[in-house]
Amino acid sequence: MAAVVKIFLRDVAEPQFGFNLMQQLRISAGTLYPLLTKLRRAGWLAAETEDIDPKIAGRPARRYYTLTPGGAVAAVRALQQSQALYEVPRSARRVGRPGLARGTT
């Protein structure tokens, strides 16, 4: 989920489509689309169908997903919270010298 959100946060204005996201994240459609559905249901993503003529464009139309303004704020907050969860505690930072990390005293 965090990886998907990070891709959207790289450029908030840039729309993404399913195949592109799958290639970037190297995940299957069975993993990606439930995540997109969840994010869309939560109001973080907005989906829009590309308005093109497939014959002129030479490819089928795509479904583009973009972060909503509220979604972008919520995503940044959620990422900050998750980073805080996995941050090394200060006490561990002082102790974490190379010699100790290898288990030597």
Partner: protein
Amino acid sequence: MSTIGLVAATLVGVVALVIGKVILDLIGKEIEGRLPGLCFAVLHLARRRLPAEMRAELHDEALLEEELRTILFHTYHERPITSLINGFTFAFGCLTGARRNARAAGWTPRHHHPQSRFTPTLATQTPLARVAQLTPGHLTDRAATSQSDGKAHFLAQPMMFTALALTWSPRSRTQLRTGD
């Protein structure tokens, strides 16, 4: 063997080889033409795995078929095998993730009872007095008897109640617990 026979045999052999080659080519082209169709068939199955009321939103509006078309035919002429592998991966991913996708959209399976699934209770713990209140509709065919008044008729032997407990449908178990 005469010279004419030898020439005729050679000619027949050459013609058979040519015809064989042509037929093999045709079969190859036929298979090549059908393989992308198989990807679409798998994707169609994925659509069928979605609840009927969500197929439009989660499949049709998500343009999954168009996505598959892009994956398949984007580089089909240069790398047909890679395209097919990508296409099948996409289609099977949609198939295996269909239910997950539906649940992400708020769908819950019709016979999904979280309580019975995670904290199983034995049907034999059900008070027998409440069992007697059930109508035949609550029971499976094996459990209900065909009495003329339409009510379930139970034999009081413990073996019979054990059999009933084993053949109880989840629906009736829930009704027993909730008292509906």
